[in-house]
Amino acid sequence: MAESNRASGACQESGTAELRARAVQFMARRHRFRLAEAAPWLLAILAFFLFPDRMAFGTQVLIMVLFAVSLDLILGYAGIMSLGHAAFFGIGAYTAALLSARLGWNEPITGLFAAAALAALIGFISGWFLLRYRGLTLLMLTLATAIMVLEFGNARADITGGYDGVNGIAISPLFDVFDYDLYGHTYYIYSLAVLFILFLVVRQIVYSPFGQALIGIRENVRRMHAIGSPVHWRLVTVYTIGAAIAGVAGGLFAQSNAFVTLGVLGFERSAAVLVMLILGGTGRLYGAFVGAIVYMVLEDNLAKLSPAFWEFGVGLLLVLAVLFARRGLLGLIEDFGRLIGERPGR
């Protein structure tokens, strides 16, 4: 408190330079890593030692976290409503799968780069056309574009294998050293490392001036236009980045399952990732983690009882989240923490 008073006093004296320095300081302070942020990563490593026989499932969770993070970037931060995000996941998955199965290119990391590049290219082209629109039109356009990608894959079943899927994906050992074991330990560490690197990238983007501009566009697009922000290019840029990350998630999915069908492109996947993100909380980076983990663990347990039961549960979760917990589970935890924090003070 005293510090900020002193700062504001100094600011009156030396004007805008001081103000700018304070803004930079504010951004830097917010960007700084907090101790709590280590928790999800420590938990992920802990899970590696606690559940050594569930690593295949763990890998799928990590992949969905990455996918949800990519959606958070475009939906949670930039406010782009997309019902077709699975298109990029699917493009990435097919890129990695076809590289290996049809062209015999089995090196995993370059496979991910290829997946990211193609997803980014499609994201850039479609984004350039679509992101002029908002509301229902944008929802419809993203949905129709994703279905177009799916139908294209279906029409060219000679390449994609259609609903029978792509077989024969073989991935060569990571860095030519780490081979893959039956329990998927290598895949888990590999996916965790990819997630960590890309998460740092997303975090950097979110706290950068570019990220702040995205939030501005989400909150009030007219004002951003008025202050001369290149809104369309900002949106296309973030959409392309989001598509690339979703493509990487898809690539990881194809590599770890060694199998891809047209199901990866379906609306169900777009809806599932949306549910995960909403469940965890949008526009807060770690919401994607909480949402994806809760969703995947619930699915793993409930779908065994009855798939219909689980689907009903997803619908109910979504309805409840929209009506009562619009800020997601993390928002609920925050509210709860505040409630407890207030009590002793009274």
Binding site: M81, A308, F309
Partner: protein, 290 residues
């Protein structure tokens, strides 16, 4: 008649019948979206509910075909009111994303519910034998059921056109679609109007769903499988415009049918490409307001 002309007439005829289903189901969605700007992705679920109700009525309870359609319209129309009052009404002022999410949630619940009670096997409708044959319309024979569908669709278009353009309540709806605030300030109860159109729209969707069962079959994924088509009809036609909905349904129904007939593998791709192109050129639809 030559073979070529025969094929063309068949495609146009089947497309027309298909377009009528699309119109009957979509028109309620168009008007409710136009009135409140509410994105209702659960609309396909109402159509599905109608389809299953009609299946149960005709198959298990032995209700004749005609009355079961009327009952379907009334029951689902009435059942949609509590949904509107309890859930939709809470989100009128919320963002499009919230509305889309809520209704996706409802749709998933409906799909799961119907899967639980009816299974994933396609159900079929009890249709009387005089409707399953062919009827001679002078120059060639046509499937009777499709002739009936086209007739029902044409009658509904006429009724809706009359109700929309020539009655007091239609004038109120048009006023509210044009400018909701202005309509409210001259004393039109837009909330009640919306409830009414929502109920009628839900009932019509159910009627369309019931009519569709014989031709398209019905499984629990009906709600999602055809939803995209309904949304395309609505957004291409323009929100809140009956004329636009008719036109979009005709174009989409005939083209989709022709595409699937002529290019069985790539036909669906073509429809979505046309949709994206149309929306890029006219984001608010053929007859939409800017």
């Amino acid at each position: 008649m030559s073979h070529f002309a025969n094929v063309v007439v068949s495609i146009l005829f089947d497309g027309l019948a298909y377009a009528m289903i699309l119109f009957i189901i979509s028109v309620g969605l168009s008007i409710t979206m136009g009135l409140m700007g509410f994105i209702n992705l659960a609309h396909g679920a109402f159509a599905m509910a109608g389809g299953y109700l009609a299946v149960t009525l005709t198959r298990s309870w032995g209700v004749p075909f005609g009355p079961s359609l009327v009952i379907t319209f009334l029951v689902v129309g009435a059942a949609s009111v509590p949904f509107e009052r309890l859930l939709y009404a809470r989100l009128y002022t919320a963002g499009e994303l919230d509305q889309a999410l809520l209704t996706i949630g409802l749709m998933l619940m409906a799909i799961a519910g119907y899967t639980f009670f009816y299974g994933t096997q396609p159900q079929s409708m009890g249709v009387p034998s005089y409707l399953t044959g062919q009827i001679n319309l002078g120059f060639r024979e046509f499937p009777t059921y499709r002739v009936l569908m086209i007739a029902v669709g044409a009658i509904l278009i006429a009724i809706l056109w009359y109700g929309f353009e020539r009655t007091g309540i239609g004038a109120k709806i048009r006023a509210a679609v044009d400018n909701r605030r202005m309509a409210q300030s001259i004393g039109i109860n837009v909330d009640r109007l919306f409830m009414l159109t929502f109920a009628v729209g839900g009932g019509l969707a159910a009627l369309g769903g019931a009519l569709a069962v014989y031709i398209l079959g019905i499984t629990p994924s009906f709600a999602i499988q055809y939803l995209v088509l309904f949304l395309i009809v609505v957004s291409v036609g323009g929100l809140g415009s009956i004329k636009g909905t008719v036109l979009a349904a005709l174009v989409l129904g005939i083209f989709d049918n022709a595409g699937k007939y002529l290019y069985p593998t790539g036909g669906a791709f073509f429809i979505y490409a046309v949709t994206v192109l149309l929306l890029l050129l006219r984001p608010s639809g053929l007859y939409g307001r800017e």
